[in-house]
């Protein structure tokens, strides 16, 4: 049993503001007139639509098939008719649209016949495929396909499975309410995960500001009676619920940026994900609903059980959006993204919808110069020197920013929270990161252009050599009539034999270059949070627009 907790450096203790939305139990929200179900709701490939406009669908029917293994299926939450398959605005800071299946519910809520799956008897690979096809992804916000993480890797086992119920960000209470409501099934899901990962222990962790949830989980754990399963209460300090911070608190292990926790024998899932695994495997229920906290500047803050695809406006209508709301946020006040469009749908990543007013979150005061007070460094849970990152990002000195480990920044916002100069530090990091991504992409493009060029040259050389060789062979074949049979093939073989090692060399070099490039790219662009992905998309879009603009502005020749 766990007898020692570790600690991470830094962190902040903002007012949790959680009580308003936990007064009432979770409410099941009625279906809206239209559901907009984005096909791409997770990290990885965009699912192919399996329905066409006009087809009728049943509740739980698969409407998007996973695109390869690094992807996840998408399902219809209820029965109805597909009225459109088209790009719709997404809950992204960028306000970009992405393909979505629009369903008009028929009100009958007829469910498709559930696939029965005997997971007790199934091999781990089969369970993983089943979860992929059930659309189970991480519900803590990262929406990484869960089946990919439910794999113990080379070693074949895991030391610790962490079930994350810390929910450290202020205002958000969806996991808290879920733990109170379904502690037993969360733990059952965790035990399935434990089996799949061959994990020695399961630690279900939550912050000490959720005593009701802790009590519920503890009594459920006692009822289940598994010696290797433990509910651990950790001190409340933002961002204790960050996967890396929580792993550090529970095990003392620090998983560096760019590494997977599996390599350290640890795997971490959100509590809601554990429940989704349980429901998928035990009841054949795909992931079509989730709990969303609606809070902030609303009349009736509450948690709703919502069909994925429900327009966000529908939730705010249910909670009573106050008129002086100046801004809508998806997520919490520390890491949430501003929502440009209230009609965007709830997606699998939507844990909280927060209405802001000037009194709730005052607009930032004017930015003053950095006085190097070091408050930010003391608050940084990644042990970075945020002000150095800021200096170098601001000066567009991106190389130096990377030396100060810009990409280890988890954008938790602690530094900006404490900065006496009111510098929007995280904005500078986001800017620097997107610039670096853009440059890497440009460099990649240049690299592949160079590779193509080199390949063309090499092919031209080879053709020249081949011609020369053939000519030589013909010349050699001419004088002697008889040996020609033997000589000609030999001559034919010779150039290709001569070229093979060269070709192999070049190919090896190209493969090396590719591998190197991928390694470089992987360092900075893997393990993207949805927010980062959104930034990349936004940056991409900006570039596209810019080039379109410059194209249309170009004088007609």
């Amino acid at each position: 049993m766990l007898n020692k907790l570790f600690s991470f450096n830094g962190g902040v203790k903002p007012d949790p503001n959680k009580s308003a939305s936990t007064r009432e139990p979770i409410a099941r929200l009625a279906l809206p007139p239209q559901l907009v179900i984005p096909l791409h709701q997770h990290i990885g490939g965009t699912p192919r639509p399996l329905v066409t406009v006009g087809s009728t669908v049943l509740g739980g029917q698969r409407i998007g098939a996973p695109d390869g293994n690094v992807s996840s299926a998408v399902h219809a939450p209820t029965s109805g008719r597909v009225v459109a398959i088209e790009p719709r605005p997404m809950p992204h800071a960028s306000g970009l649209s992405s393909p979505a299946v629009v369903i008009e519910p028929d009100g009958l809520d007829t469910a498709i016949e559930r696939e029965l799956f005997d997971w007790h008897a199934a091999a781990p690979g089969e369970i993983r495929d089943f979860l992929r096809d059930a659309g189970v992804v991480g519900l803590g916000g990262a929406v990484f396909p869960s089946h990919l993480k439910l794999n113990p890797g080379k070693s074949g086992h895991t030391d610790t499975l962490v079930i994350n119920g810390a929910e450290c960000e202020p205002f958000i209470t969806c996991d808290d309410m879920l733990m109170r409501a379904e502690p037993g099934n969360i733990l059952r899901g965790a035990l399935i995960m434990q089996r799949m990962l061959a994990a020695k222990q399961v630690l279900v962790a939550l912050e000490d500001n959720k005593p009701e949830a802790a009590a519920a989980l503890k009594s459920a754990a006692r009822a289940l009676g598994h010696a290797s399963l433990e509910v651990v209460v950790v001190p409340t300090r933002y961002p204790a619920g960050g996967a890396k911070q929580l792993i550090r608190v529970l095990t003392g292990i620090e998983v560096p940026h760019g590494s997977r926790s599996t390599d350290f024998g640890v795997q971490c899932f959100n509590v809601a994900t554990a429940l989704a695994v349980w429901r998928a495997l035990e009841h054949g229920e795909p992931l079509t609903r989730r709990i969303v906290t609606v809070t902030g500047n609303v009349e009736r803050p509450r948690n709703f059980d919502v069909a994925i695809g429900t327009p966000i406006s529908h939730l705010f209508a249910a909670a009573g959006l106050k008129p002086d709301t100046d801004k809508l946020i998806m997520g919490g006040p520390m890491m949430g993204i501003p929502l440009p469009n209230i009609d965007a749908p709830v997606v699998k990543a939507t844990n909280c919808l927060l209405a802001s007013s000037p009194t709730l979150f005052a607009p930032p005061e004017p930015e003053l110069p950095c006085i190097r007070c070091g408050e930010c460094a003391r608050a940084c849970p990644a042990d970075l020197q945020p002000f150095e990152l800021y200096w170098h990002s601001r000066a567009r000195n991106f190389g130096r920013a990377q030396e100060y480990k810009l990409f280890d920044c988890i954008e938790c916002g602690c530094c900006a929270y404490v900065c006496p100069s009111h510098i929007p530090l995280v904005d500078y990091y986001r800017y620097a990161k997107s610039e670096i991504w853009a440059r890497e992409r440009d460099k990649d493009a240049a690299d592949s252009a160079r590779e193509r060029f080199e390949f063309r040259n090499w092919r031209a050389d080879r053709e020249k050599e081949e011609k020369a060789a053939k000519l030589a062979a013909r010349n050699a074949a001419k004088p002697a009539v008889k040996p020609a049979d033997g000589a000609a093939p030999a001559a034919d073989v010779a150039p290709s034999a001569g070229e093979d090692p060269k070709k192999a060399l070049i190919e090896a070099a190209m493969a090396r270059a590719r591998a190197q490039k991928e390694a470089v790219a992987a360092k900075n662009t893997d393990a993207l949070t949805p927010a980062q992905q959104a930034q990349i998309d936004a940056a991409e879009e900006r570039r596209k627009r810019a080039s379109e603009l410059s194209g249309s502005d170009a004088p007609v020749k």
Binding site: G336, P369, P381, D383, H422, V426
Partner: protein
């Protein structure tokens, strides 16, 4: 449109600066009580000069004047200059020092947050190099009445030997130069209990203000601890070796600007080291050089020069002492996972 985090702690540069000013009050009060109101007059002159220079520079640099004046940083510089100069200096010296600090020391480098040197120490050094005689006149405990002090500061006739005396550090130096040993010099009335009649109380008040800054998390423990620790260590070693030539650690800790320097000067965030280990090195370096100047140099107190010297080293110290980033403290178990 602004982005996350939307939540901000209730803090500001002004709040930080005002806290520093408040923490200076005990020592200022103590000094006024023991030595008269001259200091208050100095503070007023320095403040007015600093604000005027700040406003002038800001408008020359076309920056919003009101907001930057309100941040309080110019006042902190002004007050630090006023308290580290000998009391009862003529007003124009304070004006010269303060304008130098704000115009050259701060704004020519780019303003708040950009100055590599501690502006107050820059002012002190400029004045002590330009006016060494005036800079070593310190009032004795016997004091003078308010009218005399006013008269002096405002530039009236100075009856030097009437009320000025050497500071303890000065007296020690002069005494040692005259081949007296430390204990003999210490007999002189200027020395009080440990480190100068009255001044030791002012030093303790600086310490109290410094503890307040620590408690309010305006400063961290690193700089004061390393400063005082290093000062105690070097002076202690020298004192143990030859107590007749070197003053005791207690003397060095309470004399001159040690306490002021440890808690208020070396902790200037802008010009100081920023990493935890860097702060230790930075502060210990200041203490060591200050002691060397006190023991072997030509100036009575070396803290100002020591601070400027270490200011130069800050970029190097910071680079060499970067703390390990999360996850990069130990090698990953399988030799670099991935």
């Amino acid at each position: 449109m602004y982005n996350s985090p939307y939540l901000r702690q209730n803090t500001s540069v002004r709040r930080v600066m005002v806290t520093v000013l408040v923490a200076m009050l005990p020592a200022i009060a103590m000094q006024v009580w023991l030595f008269g109101i001259g200091l208050l007059l100095q503070i007023a002159i320095a403040s007015a000069t600093a604000l005027a220079c700040e406003a002038a520079m800001l408008s020359l640099r076309r920056r919003p004047v009101a907001r930057a004046l309100g941040d309080g940083s110019a006042l902190v510089t002004a007050w630090l200059i006023a308290v580290c100069l000998p009391p009862l200096l003529p007003w124009w010296m304070i004006v010269i020092g303060t304008s130098f600090a704000i115009i050259i020391g701060k704004h020519l480098y780019g303003g708040l947050g950009q100055n590599p040197f501690n502006p107050a120490m820059l002012a002190y050094c400029v004045l002590i190099i330009s006016f060494p005689a005036l800079m070593s006149q310190w009032p004795g405990l016997q004091g003078s009445d308010a009218a005399t002090q006013l008269n002096w500061v405002l530039g009236g006739e100075r009856a030097l030997d009437a009320v000025t005396g050497a500071t303890p550090l000065d007296a020690l130096r002069t005494g040692l130069l005259g081949n007296a040993d430390v204990s003999a010099v210490m007999q002189s009335p200027a020395f009080g209990h440990v480190a100068g009649a009255g001044w030791e109380w002012v030093a303790l008040a600086w310490g109290a203000g410094g503890l307040l800054l620590l408690a309010l998390r305006i400063i961290t423990w690193h700089i004061p601890a390393a400063f005082l620790g290093a000062m105690a260590l070097v002076s202690g070693v020298a004192w143990l070796i030859d107590p007749s030539h070197y003053a005791s650690p207690a003397f060095h800790l309470l004399a001159g600007g040690t306490m002021l320097g440890a808690f208020f000067i070396a902790t200037d965030p802008v010009s100081g080291a920023t990493t935890p280990r860097g702060k230790l090195i930075f502060a210990a370096g200041i203490a060591l050089i200050a002691w060397l100047i006190r023991a072997f140099g030509a100036y009575p107190d070396g803290i100002a020069f020591a601070v400027l010297l270490l200011n130069i080293c800050v970029p190097l110290i910071d680079i060499k002492t970067q703390p390990p980033v999360f996850g990069h403290k130990v090698e990953p178990p399988d030799g670099g996972a991935r």
